[in-house]
């Protein structure tokens, strides 16, 4: 067999020098890829600073049949004889905080309007306002889970 020329390959064979060189190049590329992936992974938050399950107050402090705004959490609490419901005040369009208007709500940013059930009446909002899961903390306070959407007729009976 003739010796391989230029340290390269002849048909189907690979010189030891070339094989080692390829392995070296390969490992550098692999290491670089892994390093870049680690570098890119770091800024993706593994846990979030915001709590999603929050206390909003004692049951007694909410008047009946009206939307009470909890400004720290951007949530409306609606209390009926049957129990409690919570409506997110964040406009599903671009996240502004809606304000009560008539029996419904209106977004100050792009003018979406909603009825008292959160359904879109007008404007660019792509979805209704979100009803959120209501619960009760061990200390008797009403809690809202802002990460969990529920149907609008779901109540927390108290």
């Amino acid at each position: 067999m003739p010796p391989p020329q230029n340290g390269g390959t002849t048909a189907g064979t690979l010189s030891r020098r070339e094989a080692l060189a390829r392995m070296a190049r390969g490992s550098v590329v692999l290491a670089a890829v892994v390093a870049v992936l680690v570098f890119l992974r770091l800024p993706i938050p593994s846990s979030l600073r915001e709590r999603t399950l929050v206390r909003v107050g004692n049951p007694d402090q909410f008047p009946f049949n009206t939307f009470t705004f909890v400004s720290e959490r951007n949530i409306f609490i609606y209390r009926t004889r049957g129990g409690f419901r919570a409506l997110s005040a964040l406009c599903p369009h671009l996240g502004c905080v809606v304000a009560p208007q008539g029996s419904g709500f209106r977004c100050p940013c792009h003018g979406s309007t909603f009825d008292a059930h959160g359904a879109v009446l007008n404007g660019p909002a792509p979805r209704p306002l979100s009803w959120l899961r209501v619960g009760m903390a061990p200390d008797g306070q009403i809690t809202v889970d802002t990460s969990e959407r529920v149907p609008g007729d779901q109540l927390l009976k108290v």
Partner: protein, 474 residues
Amino acid sequence: MRAALGSFLAILRRVRTERTSVRERSHSVSRNFFLHMHSARTHLYSLRPGFTLGLGVLSLSLFLILLLTGVLLMVYYVPSVEQAYGSVKDISTVVAGGKYIRNIHRWGAHGMVAVVLFHLLRVLFTTGYTGSRRVNWIVGIVLFCMTILFSFSGYLLPWDQLAFWAVTIAANIVASTRELTDLAGITALFDPGGFVRRLLLGGDSVGQDALTRFYLLHVVVLPIATIVLIGVHLWRIRKSDGLAIPPDADDLVLKAGGISIPKELEDAKLRREHTVLSWPTVLWAEGAIFLGALAVLTLTAILVDAPLLAPADPSMPENPAKSPWYFLGVQELVSYSAFTGGVLVPLLLLVAAGAVPFVDREENGVGYWFGSRRGKVVVSVSVLVALVLTISMMWVAIGMGWHWTRNAPAAIALIVNPGSILATLYGIWSWLVARSTVSTKMGVFALASCCLTGGIVITILGIWLRGPNWEFVW
């Protein structure tokens, strides 16, 4: 050490025309690190003020001014939710000269967005993007995006109402790709907008993590990236032998005269080549632009204070909550549909801009405003057409209300909105122009004129004709 000092002094050295030789002046350019981005000689045509309007140098000047004032602001600014607002207030009220530095920084940032946009349009309408300049056109587009990102990331830092709500809205525009993936029912699997929003904000709402990230982008990531890209941008100009000038630039310089050169600066032989020594002629021009920019900014900073609203209140938006002016056109479009107006149409515009040198491969018209007489006609007519189309479209959308979407299939309601309708109409018009003139360049010019005109119309609409609750006010 002596050599380093010598080359440093080369910047400061007076122009001693009677004593320095041409050769020495050529050397002073190539010897100095900061000057060697210039060629030894520069063609007179590319120095005509009416050709370039000095916009590239003006952009660079503003960038340098922003870099310097930005570093000064960093001395006192604290990037924390609790202290950011107070520290900006301190800069504006207590810090010696702080108010003016902040004013220069704020107005310079607004100015830079406009100047970089004008620079881009200048290069477009003088066909400065052909052949070897195609790469640099793309670099320029990226630099334009950098400018926008710079300005926008800086917007959050004062942590006032303006900052908080503008950034909340923008971050949610990014996440509005969900409107599309929700329709397909794949948001749980594929949510690019939501991913980018979380990456930007470090969470799901604008808080300390968002402030930290915007600060890092604003003072570290973007400056480094921009400085490197500006270097590439200038280097590419050198590689393409200076600015794009017409093949018959020599005759034009002879005919029009252009700029006047002191006779003693040039010997007769070199004058015939229609070039001047970059040092000192070009440097004088550049210095004048820089000082002009500085003067205008300083005056503005003395006369007009940068706004600082009430501290950010995450439970009460400004009403109306308006973005900076360069985003108000987009904000008008998102008031019909977040995804189409805020993501789809801007992305289309960006792709179209990037594709310009690959669509128009005609070599004629390089270095002339609008290429030719025909180009001027095409641009004028396109501006009129776009004015009529845009104003009619917005008149229909606002006058009759945009209510039909409630009863339409969701996909159609999502995609069909004033932004996408106008983009389609502009596209059809430009295609007709390209067809009837048998020239892709004319098509490109028509599309650019339409987008520019439409952009100005809806931006004006957003700035002056939208009031509380984004209602139309006249």
